[in-house]
């Protein structure tokens, strides 16, 4: 399983903060997971259209080419604005 988290404006837009997903065959990196989720259509398009979307894998900042394995925690979120 993958645990997927969404935060802030993205969480609101998608209408959910988290989900679990069986790691689909052929999904080996963050980009492939993003494309798979965006293919749901509707609001999920924003995973492709939002500027500067950020990613984390296992609570570390990641990139689109960061690899994924079963059991990983993946997060999608807008640029951070703390401080």
């Amino acid at each position: 399983m993958l645990k997927i988290l969404y935060f802030a404006g993205l969480r609101e837009r998608l209408g959910q903060g988290s989900e679990e997903l069986e790691l689909p065959a052929g999904v080996r990196d963050v980009a492939a997971l993003r494309d798979l989720l965006a293919a749901r259509g509707g609001v999920w398009d924003c995973l492709l259209t939002l500027r500067n979307l950020r990613y984390a894998v296992n609570q570390q900042m990641a990139r689109l080419d960061s690899p994924l394995c079963a059991g990983d925690e993946v997060a999608f979120f807008p640029p951070v604005t703390g401080g």
């Binding site: 935060f7 802030a8 609101e12 500067n52 609570q59 951070v80 703390g82 401080g83």
Partner: protein, 154 residues
């Protein structure tokens, strides 16, 4: 090193006293306190709420402080960041660095704050007269963090 992500307020005087207590090698403490302003991007701000990524936030802050300890000869550091609902003039964040001399304390404090702004997973949502909105990241914050980029780093 103390890292805290908390809803409650903090007492700057008490925190700075605790940071330097019992260590006569400390000759300088530099600190930064961030506050909620009552306006942003041309609109009044009645209140703010701060969301974060529990678990990753604490790790990201600890890594930033560890990086500061690697780069400067500092003795100790402290980061407290609040989450949840906050009103104008309330304290949001405290960064404090203790060192032997002011130079490394100032630099490390500014570095921690610049990296926190661009790398720690917090998000601000503010309530304005025209409704609630998520605060946009600023290019100036990215530029401030890039100043600290080491040659050859990713």
């Amino acid at each position: 090193m103390r890292i805290s992500v908390q809803e409650g307020d903090f007492d700057v005087g008490a925190e700075l006293a605790a940071l330097r207590q019992g260590n006569p090698q400390i000759g300088a403490v530099a600190s930064f306190v961030g506050l909620v302003r009552d306006s942003n991007d041309g609109a009044g701000v009645a209140e703010m709420s701060l969301e974060h990524y529990p678990g990753m936030t604490e790790k990201a802050l600890a890594e930033i402080v560890e990086e500061a300890c690697r780069r400067w000869a500092i003795i100790d550091a402290l980061v407290i960041h609040r989450v949840g609902r906050l009103l104008p003039s309330e304290q949001i964040v405290l960064v404090a660095v203790a060192g032997a001399h002011r130079g490394e304390a100032f630099a490390a404090c500014e570095f921690i704050m610049d990296y926190l702004k661009t790398r720690a997973p917090f998000w601000k949502r503010e309530v304005t007269p025209s409704g609630a909105r998520w605060v946009d990241a600023r290019a100036a914050d990215d530029q401030a963090a890039e100043r600290w980029q080491e040659p050859g780093a990713d």
